[in-house]
Symmetry: C2
Subunit: 459 residues, 2 copies
């Protein structure tokens, strides 16, 4: 049920990045786009062509001056991205030419497309649902294997199907309750309360698993942050360098990090890991250093994992246990990373190895660094152990699912205390509404504008 | 006559700028490009399709994972830009996806294209000649109406045709001379020396006009620079602001200008005019100011025109005449711009107006600024009065034309002093060679590499 009015006027935008290049692509979509293009096109007549055809020709302005020689690709409704007539003009990648061609489109009746407007039309014309449309934006912004896989899976519609199945189960339950309301005089129960109760519980488990998958989905989409903390000279910076050593090429500094904490990104098994090198933690009266340590504490609190690095040469097991208590205060998963193990004897190392959460390394000699990565990779995988096969990564979807879950809890409670059918049905409709708004089966203009405004122009 | 070996292996490159965007286009060209694309393409079978067709489908990697949903456009030899089989993959504009698809192309037998390699193949396969190929690079870099028009005209082949006509005239003359050599025993003159002489003179005039057009061509392509000089407080900066006033939006500062001279660009009648605001000229003992004035002198010497601005309130005709003598030393065309004419009486103004090269303005009150622009625009047009209809803008072409002209002068001289037919024919062949190297009828590998290396990757 679409509340949003479909638009058929012709929109135009540059769909490739701005810059001097071999090719730039200008995209038009709308009922009249072929007639509009015909006004400045010199080549085979467009209106008599079949769709999906690429034609060579010229773009000429009102003064019959040649603007460019281009390839124009014609897509005829409904066989196009937007399911409207569409034209793609592949011209030479000069800012001047692009500007002239867009001007010609505007002069002949097109208007500039807003961000995401092509995808919005595709959605409104039933090319895909809302969750799939959102996946396209994620796909364009994907910058690692994991974020790409998530987006592709969501775009392919697996998630949408799961949500639609859930919603249909609820609609079926609601229908039975509605039936009871129709026959309310006769006091019959079409929906067996025991069965209803167990179904509501089952559906909550499924939704709960989806919600739980957000932690993993978020990591896959936005990366995983690891704070490296420890006393001064424990080897924090050396560890950071050791972690980045093997693959310097794909390392990049994040702009805007505070001067006293350094962030570097490393791709581990397709997941962006953000390592934060922090100031050394110690008691100090130095004002500047105190600020540094405060920032370290702040950064650490925002991290998703802590590497606590210590010098195995000078740290006793008792001291380590004390320090571990402090780390626990962060309430963030952590690993105790014993550095400089090449400088202590085997016996000493064995003592450390009895501790849970311990890995011994030599940051300086690149000893056991791979183990550290494998540990991290396994940890990230383990986040998903409770998650459903469907992984969600979109905050809007999380919010809708939580609302649906809350509504179902109320339904559960209503059934438990045997509330009137009317009340149960009403809460059930709430849950149905929230699930429907994920895929856009229920939606409103504001929501659509919000979603599509985050797209690139030209998409 | 191509000396360069044609290549048929498959090359691949991103043809759109790098950046997050709706669309990125990856281009493949080569005998096997369709077979290569078939390896990672899921959609209609490519090898059985006709050319110029746009197909929707999926890109899948070796693990059968979906990389993207794309539109693939097929061009079949010889109906493609390179005249080879070509494939254009229009994918989502994510750096990750682009990288994955290019990797798949490389894995399946393509190699990365070098800069300009697609255009080089188009040239080698006779799609266009060398001058036309060079025009494509100019077209991509065009950033004003005039530079765009030049590039389009050259790409359309008018210039090439003119050069070919010239070259054919020379070849015809040379053929007659060669005939004489074949019959040298018999001492006949197939080429009437009078006629030969006058034809050589005519051809020199045509080439000379083309060479002269370079001044205009260079202005059209690279812009026209005007130095604004004058005494302190004459109103130089006010004039610059007045010139830019009307169209602030398309004004941009040029990076890297020295701190003491300011350059601003204004598009006047489609030509990029670069106005240089300079330090005030006066006798000074201040070291810093001296440096500023030296820079002003240097910048002024590099300019193509001078606006000498002076305050009409405080400058007598005699003083102005003296100052004009100094300006003449630059040997650059100039205009005397009298400022603050709203503050002097009519009589005084009439005296100034009797001077050639004078325009009176009020920079502060935007009086007669349009006249100044019209003057400049007319001046630029006038550069072309002696030029041929063909305007050249490429330094390589200028160099070839000058060489051809030099060779023709030697021919002329040889005819004058009635040198042996053999000598005349040899010099004529030199001229033919130089003209031929403009369009690529005569060429070598080094030259081609040099020309195409200046192209974008993917073109």
């Amino acid at each position: 049920m679409l509340l949003y009015k479909q638009k058929n006027d012709t929109i135009v935008a540059l769909s490739t990045p701005i810059g001097v290049s071999a090719i730039a692509v200008i995209r038009l979509s709308g009922d009249n786009c072929i007639e509009i293009a015909e006004q400045f096109w010199q080549g085979k007549k467009l209106s008599t062509q079949v769709g999906n055809i690429a034609l060579f020709g010229k773009i000429i302005n009102n003064k019959k001056e040649i603007i460019d020689e281009v390839v124009l690709t014609l897509f005829k409704a409904p066989k196009s991205f937007t399911k409207q007539n569409s034209v793609e003009i592949s011209c030479h990648g000069s800012a001047y030419i692009v500007q002239e061609i867009i001007q010609l489109c505007l002069l002949n009746g097109a208007r500039l497309a807003e961000a995401g407007e092509f995808t919005q039309r595709a959605y409104l014309n039933g090319q895909f649902d809302l969750a799939q449309a959102e996946a396209i934006a994620d796909l364009i912004h994907s910058d690692s294997k994991s974020s790409h896989q998530l987006a592709i899976a969501q775009m392919r519609g697996g998630f949408s199907q799961k949500i639609k199945d859930l919603r249909e189960s609820l609609i079926r339950l609601a229908a039975l309750l509605e039936l009871e309301l129709d026959f309310s005089e006769e006091d019959v129960e079409f929906a067996n309360r025991e069965q209803l109760y167990s179904q509501i519980i089952d559906l909550q488990v499924i939704i709960k698993n989806m919600i739980d998958s957000f932690v993993l989905g978020n990591v896959m989409k936005n990366g995983f942050s690891v704070a490296i903390i420890g006393k001064p000279n424990a080897g924090k910076s050396t560890l950071l360098n050791a972690l980045l050593e093997e693959d310097r090429a794909i390392v990049s500094s994040i702009a805007g990090t505070t001067r006293d904490t350094i962030e570097e990104i490393k791709n581990i098994n397709g997941i962006k890991c953000r390592f934060i090198d922090t100031a050394g933690l110690r008691e100090t009266n130095d004002t500047i250093e105190k600020i540094g340590i405060e920032r370290t504490l702040k950064k650490t609190k925002e991290a998703q994992f802590i590497f606590y690095i210590f010098d195995t040469q000078i740290t006793s097991i008792t001291e380590l246990k004390q320090e571990e208590e402090t780390i626990k205060n962060y309430q963030i998963p952590y690993l105790l990373v014993g550095n400089k193990i090449d400088l202590i004897d085997k016996k000493q190392l064995e003592f450390f190895e009895k501790i849970d959460n311990f890995i011994g390394i030599s940051a300086h000699n690149l000893l056991k660094i791979k183990e550290l990565e494998t540990f991290l990779s396994n940890y990230i995988q383990s986040i998903s152990s409770n998650a459903s096969q469907i992984i969600i990564s979109n905050v809007r979807h999380l919010y809708c699912l939580q609302n649906a879950l809350d509504a179902l809890k109320i339904v559960q409670n209503a059934v438990e205390i045997r509330l009137a059918t009317e009340m149960i049905a009403s809460d059930l409709r709430q849950a149905i509404y929230h699930l429907g708004s994920i895929t856009g089966d229920i939606t409103n203009e504001d929501l659509l504008d919000f979603i599509f405004s985050k797209f690139c122009i030209g998409k």
